[in-house]
Amino acid sequence: MIEVRFHGRGGQGAVTAARMLAEAAFLEGKYAQAFPFFGAERRGAPVVAFARLDTRPVRLRSQIYEPDHVVVLDPTLLRAVNVTEGLKPGGLLVLNARERPGKLEAGRVVWVDATSIAVEEMGAPITNMAMLGAYVRASGEVSLESVLRAVGDYFRGKMGERNLRAIRRAYEEARE
């Protein structure tokens, strides 16, 4: 089982990112669970969302304390929150960053300028789709096609197309 934790700020779509990841895994015939942090949330405040992916039914219903992967949607969170807390040894950290980040407590660090991609492709700094693209590239847990299909099913019309462009671009631009 792979456990993923998404860090974002209220309004950036961390919960949707977790759900779209679960949808993509589901489309591939895997078992998946996506859920928000069970706590108080408000716009702009740090929020967390989770996903569990497995090849057998997921039964654990506790929160995730030792994730295999961490995805950070907002660069300012690195100063506000200990995003690598509990990250498994050798774990994957995927960051939204303008430039190569400094030393971090993670096995692998992958980064992409998701804010620029989001602003250019979607017209707003809603970075969840771009970060999902980068995460798919970095982890290989689900295929790009599955994520595009999941997001395309969920968001129709213009909004859907913009989301898909942001995912594709981040997938291409993600660096290690």
Binding site: E23, Y31, Q33, F38, R59, R61, S62, Q63
Partner: protein, 391 residues
Amino acid sequence: MRRLLNGNEAAALAAKLARVQVVSAYPITPQTVVVETLAKYVADGELEAEFVKVESEHSALSVCLGASATGARAFTATSSQGLMLMSEILYVVSGMRLPVVMANANRSLSAPLSIWNDQQDSLAVRDSGWIQLYCESNQEILDLLLQAFLLAERVSLPAMVCYDGYILSHTAEAVEVPEQAEVDAFLPPYSPSLKLDPDRPLTMGPVGVPEVYMEARYMQHRDTRRAREEFLRVAEEFGRRFGRRYGILEEYRTEGAELLLLTMGSLASTAKEAVDRCRERGEKVGLVKLTLYRPFPDGEVVEALKRAKVVGVLEKDISTGWMGALYTDTVAAFANESRRPLFQNFILGLGSRDVRLEDLEGIIGALRKAAEEGKVGENPRWVGLKGEMVE
């Protein structure tokens, strides 16, 4: 067709598949998505129902009361404070034998205010005469709601399907969604023989003078007890049609178990993982998950638990100043049994205090110790309390 749904979406979809005719509900976290989803179904013409946008939960249930008495299939959904506000009308609906169905996303009670999960809300109204079913997964939410409609209408009693707030209501997971035609074949349209109709005038909800009140309550009680058998019949029909088998309770790896966990709701999932881990180490541990809590299935509970040495009753509620509700009910069921296990009550998960695999292994450890010593420790034991609270 399989779909990824959160618990609230599964509940709303079940109501739609049941072709509810009157929906009345009021927003409250964590149930709100049920109301929103049903509103969208009606707005988009996918569900042909009267959606009554009320000013309180008290009125929501009152609208359902009136609609059900007039012969419509009525549905509401709520949580926590909303259920408390409904509590007066819960008794009226069950006493009038109206098969209203409700989804309750389990949430804590104020004060202190908490929008988070436990089961204090529905357990507080366990005496209200509603059938209560508890769900372990989103699949169970959809399936048990469909069964609740059929059961409620067959026994002329209201039914409440309870599922853990956030842990299920806000968690997306795979749900097998039946076709409308399959549901239609399982659940026929509601057509009560007695209803408000000017062609056949009828007085409903009269005064129960002392000469008749007790008989009315007795008949309600008797029929509620009988709902256990009807639930089994409904579950059997459901299983035959949809391939998913439900029972009054589920026994998980209970064969030869000396230590048993008893719980309700989503905690059963994590508990199954804990049982698996213990079984791998060769420990004789099992789990009993109760699906039907009201009417209380004493016979089934005794049968499932009686061979254990120690039973741990795990629940997300507390009768303040005493024990948990499930514990007191379970121990009462054993009152006249000559041989009975030791029982220990574990209060956990209040206000969304997370219950981790480690907590469950700790509980199993405490049961093991009780089995060895022949007596239980602190009872009830509060699990996951912060260190400074432990005396």
